[in-house]
Every structure is written in structure tokens, then in C-alpha cells.
């Protein structure tokens, strides 16, 4: 997914002279073709994320469209005030391409785990937050980023994720995608949780439960009008995100229902990363298992919701 995103930056830079790239201190050879073709629009600025964000803002003020890339935690926690003030307050078209959303950097420990990035990015006025589910969708979204007039946070997964998106569904920033139909329950997902939800829905179908999957690649602005009817039609809703439950996609769905469909509030169950820093290393899968963000975890959660109802909550 990361390679696709950066390949897209290269392609966009070839067709649009406004496109510039800023990395912090990335691996050797990143975007070397773009560097060769357009050295004046390719920057590797060192481990200086606060500066990088300000510099991107300055370039955007001069009419450029900066694509900034580094590890997600350093694009969010490290320079949050710069993102808030320089990018969001000025409402500038800067794109933050964030490596390693969720548990991707599990072996590197909690300093590198972007667990709350979705929550803190969506808290900022004017910010757009997207988390594609696979490389193909990433490609479609990157094309759409060019003329989006606001700052944007693009969350990358590990890479090599199964392709589940379909070209025929297209992609439109701010619109969710119906990935699977179902009348009993609904998984609302973002990023690579969509794959897990689709597999879970398949298993639940074998049990006679018809579960829909609504993929929310754009967490902000939320596709309110697309999601509300989908939520109201089913008996149980499980939101699934590889991010901390406080303030993320699930919270956004609760906020939406609180404002526009209070009767649906009780049927919503949130799955995500609990309110704690991860204690273990291993792999992304280690952490997903720990967090219950697995096919069996989702199947159990949805089955319980449909079997036991929501009367107790």
C-alpha cells in the first residue's frame, strides 16, 4: 500500500507541477525516480517533523500540493500543533501519508504504534481522514486527493493486504462503500478491518445470519447519509477499526446516531484497540489477536449481539 501511495505521488508529480514530496528521513531510494525527474520538488528534510509540516504549509500557501510521508506516530503526535495550526487552521491542501497505522510496527513497540492517530486527526477542524483497505483502493483514492481542497491524513496499512475493493465501486472522498449486503447485522469498518469483516460475514452466513459490510475509507467527513439508512435497517451494528476506541470510527458512528438516530444507539458495539498502550511485541497479528480484531472475534461479537440483543446495554 505504501509503495502504491508513493508510486502515485510520482505519477501525480509527472502530470501536475504543483505536486511536491517531502519525506523526513525515509529509507534509501524512496521516490528516486521523482527525485531524478523533478529534484526541485523532492525533499528529504531529516528528522524534523515540526519543521516539515510548517514547510509543507508554506509550500501550500504558495500554491503547491505537498505530499508528506513518514511514520504515522511522527506525523501525528510529534507535530500535532503544526498539523492543527499550520495545516488545519489555514485549511491547506497538504497530504500526510502515514506509514504503519495501528499495529503494523508491533515489533518496534508502543513508541511506533499509531493507535490513536485516527482519533486525534479527526478531532481537528478541516482535516480529512482516510484509511483505504487495499492497494487498489489506495490508487483510486490517491488520484482523488489531487484537487481535494483540505488537509488530509492518509493512513497506510502494512502492505500486501488482500485486494477486496472493486474498481466498479469507484471511490469518492467522503462516501462509504457497500461491500456486502445483509439484513440482520452490519459491520462498519475502515482500513484493513474491512477484509476481516468480509470474511466474518461469510462465516456468519453459513450460520444463517445475513451480515452487511459498509467500508468507510473516509472517516472524516463521515458519510452520514450513506450510513444512517444502513444502520437503521439492521438489528446489530459492530464497528471495527485498528485504532483506539476512544474517538475513532466507532465514536464517530455513535456521535452520528446520537445526533440523528438515537433509537439506533443501543445496537452499536465498538471493536478496536482498548484504552491502553500495547504491552507486547511480536507481529501485527499478535496485537490483532490480543485486541480481538480477528475473524473469530468479529464473528463472536456479531453473533452475540444478534443472539442476545442490546437490552442490557
Amino acid at each position: 500500500m505504501r509503495k502504491t501511495a508513493l508510486d502515485c505521488v510520482h505519477e501525480l508529480s509527472q502530470s501536475d507541477e504543483r505536486v511536491v514530496f517531502i519525506g523526513s528521513d525515509l529509507g534509501p531510494g524512496v521516490l528516486s525516480k521523482m527525485r531524478k525527474e523533478s529534484p526541485e520538488r523532492w525533499f528529504m528534510e531529516g528528522v524534523s517533523e515540526q519543521h516539515v509540516i510548517g514547510m509543507a504549509a508554506g509550500l501550500a500557501m504558495e500554491g503547491f500540493i505537498p505530499y508528506v510521508n513518514t511514520i504515522a506516530t511522527f506525523l501525528t503526535r510529534r507535530c500535532y500543533e503544526q498539523v492543527a495550526v499550520d495545516l488545519c487552521l489555514h485549511d491547506l491542501p497538504v497530504r500526510l501519508i502515514a506509514n504503519g497505522g495501528g499495529g503494523v510496527y508491533a515489533p518496534l513497540g508502543p513508541t511506533h504504534l499509531a493507535i490513536e492517530d485516527i482519533a486525534i486527526m479527526r478531532a481537528l477542524p478541516n482535516m480529512t481522514v482516510i484509511a483505504p483497505c487495499d492497494a487498489e483502493e489506495m490508487r483510486r483514492l490517491m488520484t482523488a486527493t489531487l484537487d481535494w481542497p483540505h488537509p488530509m491524513y492518509i493512513r497506510l496499512a502494512k502492505g500486501g493486504d488482500p485486494i477486496v475493493s472493486e474498481a466498479q465501486n469507484g471511490v469518492s472522498i467522503g462516501r462509504s462503500i457497500r461491500m456486502r449486503e445483509g439484513s440482520d447485522g452490519l459491520f462498519i469498518t475502515t482500513g484493513v478491518m474491512t477484509q476481516i469483516a468480509l470474511e466474518s460475514a461469510g462465516l456468519l452466513a453459513a450460520e444463517g445470519l445475513q451480515i452487511a459490510v459498509q467500508h468507510v475509507h473516509t472517516i472524516k467527513p463521515l458519510d452520514e447519509d450513506g450510513l444512517l439508512p444502513a444502520i437503521s435497517r439492521v438489528h446489530a451494528v459492530v464497528t471495527v477499526e485498528e485504532g483506539i476506541v476512544n474517538g475513532g470510527l466507532g465514536s464517530a458512528i455513535l456521535e452520528l446516531c446520537s445526533a440523528r438516530d438515537r433509537r439506533s444507539l443501543a445496537k452499536i458495539h465498538r471493536m478496536g484497540i482498548p484504552d491502553a498502550f500495547p504491552k507486547h511485541y511480536g507481529s501485527q497479528q499478535t496485537l490483532l489477536d490480543e485486541w480481538g480484531l480477528t475473524v473469530s472475534g468479529l464473528v463472536t461479537a456479531m453473533r452475540d449481539r444478534l443472539t442476545n440483543g442490546s437490552a442490557n446495554e
Binding site: 531529516g46 515540526q50 504549509a57 508554506g58 504558495e62 503547491f64 503544526q82 489555514h90
Partner: protein
């Protein structure tokens, strides 16, 4: 030390008008930069008050956004907006807030107030202007306390790396920050050596001597392959003797009529 001439006193009276209107403001931080801004807007910067976004304008960023009363004064004086608006400082419907906002105030290039933001933005602008082969320059005015923030030094390294001779940093070195003397809170010395070590061509100037300021600013860039830095030695609260070098006047709220009258009296 050169005495303040009538124009400098006039501009300060406008600052006091705004303080009176808002009943509050960063007096010390604004008074220290009046001559720097006066010379920039009178003699150095290229701009069009009726066309604030003119493509070839020089970009001026007041990174120490809390000094905005001086900036508002110069912008009003030059016709970016009516001078009367100064009286509405910090009032609910005013566009002149306690820190300057881009998009609200004509002539304000960037919203500042949180410190350490102006220089990174200025670096981005300077690079952008160079890509566009624009003759415009970027001038960033920072505070001394402000450069406690590490982001300035990240940006300084970048400015030197990119040989941004179209970027000028002015440091308002009034030697006081909110709590007290910079030498006690977080000593900046040797300040000139620091900027030089970070790759800048550096000069020092009495930041209240308009003639010296004019000469130095006319000689920009100091080096065609390096960004320029000017350490402006100033006096916090300059022109209001009871506020000069007095941290109590870094920012004041609840200004009384007596306070305001005393300030006008100093500026006759």
C-alpha cells in the same frame, strides 16, 4: 540610543489606541518591534495594500504573533484596513484578535501566536517562491523567547541546507520573555554565533535605530548562497518608560484609563 521621532511616537500612539480599545494586549512585545516594522513597511518590503495577495509581494510573517498590535498598526497605517479598526482590538466582531489571523486580516500572511511556526512556514514559502522563480522575499520576525522552540532550529538547518538567500530572519532580541530575562529563563547566548553556526549570514543592529535598520535591510541578502539573520537589539516596552524592561508589561489585561493616559503622556 536614538530618541524616538514623531513617526515612531505616532505609531506607538496607534498601538495604545488599540490597547485602549481592547483593554488588554501584549504591550511590551509590540513596542519593541515598532521600528523594525516601520522600516520594513516604509522602505523595504514590496506590497500593495489594495491587493494583499499580489503575487510578487514580499512575504512578511510575524512569527511572534503576540506582537500583533505593532503589525496591525503598520498595516492600518499603510491602508490595508481602516485605522479606526484598531479601536476594536479583541472585540467579538473585530477581525483584529490577540494574535493575527491569515484570511481575516488583509496583509497577514500566516496565523501565528503559537510560537515557533513562522520560520518553518517561511522556509516552505521561500522554497516555493524559488521554484516559481519569483523575485519575492520572505521575511520572518521571531521573538527571542520564541526561539526557545526547537522547531525554529529545525527550520534554520533546512534554510541553510536549501541555501535560501530569499529568506530573512529578524530576531527581536529584547532580552525578556514572559517570566523574566531570557538570560535567566533559557539563555540564548551566544546568539549571533548560533545563527552563524546554523548556516546563516548574520548581522546585528540597534532595532530602534531606523537609519541603521534601513542600511542593513538595504544590503540584503548578506550572502547569495545563505539565508540572512539579523539580531535586532531592542528594548521591551520601548517608548513607555514604566514598561521598559519590565516583565509585568509583557502582557496586560484590565488596563485602566489611568494606564492609558500615562502611556499617551509618554508619547507626546
Amino acid at each position: 540610543m536614538v530618541a524616538l521621532d514623531e513617526r515612531s511616537r505616532h505609531l506607538r500612539r496607534l498601538v495604545v489606541d488599540a490597547l485602549k480599545g481592547g483593554g488588554r494586549g501584549h504591550l511590551g512585545s509590540s513596542m519593541s518591534v515598532v521600528e523594525i516594522l516601520r522600516v520594513l513597511y516604509d522602505d523595504v518590503l514590496r506590497y500593495r495594500p489594495t491587493d494583499p495577495l499580489w503575487a510578487e509581494r514580499d512575504r512578511f510573517i510575524l512569527s511572534k504573533g503576540h506582537g500583533c498590535l505593532a503589525l496591525y498598526t503598520l498595516l492600518a497605517d499603510k491602508g490595508f484596513f481602516p485605522v479606526d479598526e484598531l479601536l476594536g482590538f479583541c472585540r467579538p466582531e473585530s477581525r483584529l484578535g490577540g494574535h493575527p489571523e491569515h484570511g481575516k486580516v488583509p496583509g497577514v500572511e500566516a496565523s501565528t501566536g503559537a510560537l515557533g511556526h513562522g520560520l518553518p512556514i517561511g522556509v516552505g514559502m521561500a522554497i516555493g517562491l524559488r521554484i516559481k522563480q519569483s523575485p519575492a522575499r520572505v521575511v520572518v520576525l521571531t521573538g527571542d523567547g520564541e526561539i526557545n522552540e526547537g522547531s525554529n532550529w529545525e527550520a534554520a538547518m533546512s534554510a541553510a541546507k536549501h541555501r535560501l538567500s530569499n529568506l530573512i530572519v529578524l530576531v527581536d532580541y529584547n532580552k525578556f520573555q514572559s517570566y523574566g530575562p531570557t538570560s535567566e529563563v533559557l539563555d540564548l547566548e551566544p546568539l549571533t554565533d548560533k545563527w552563524r553556526a546554523f548556516g546563516f549570514a548574520v548581522k546585528e543592529v540597534d532595532g530602534h535605530d531606523t537609519q541603521q535598520l534601513r542600511v542593513i535591510l538595504d544590503s540584503l541578502p548578506f550572502d547569495v548562497s545563505r539565508p540572512s539573520a539579523i539580531i535586532c537589539h531592542t528594548i521591551k516596552g520601548k517608548g513607555i518608560p514604566f514598561a521598559e524592561g519590565n516583565p509585568e508589561w509583557h502582557h496586560k489585561s484590565g488596563l485602566t484609563e489611568t494606564d492609558i493616559r500615562a502611556m499617551y503622556d509618554c508619547l507626546k
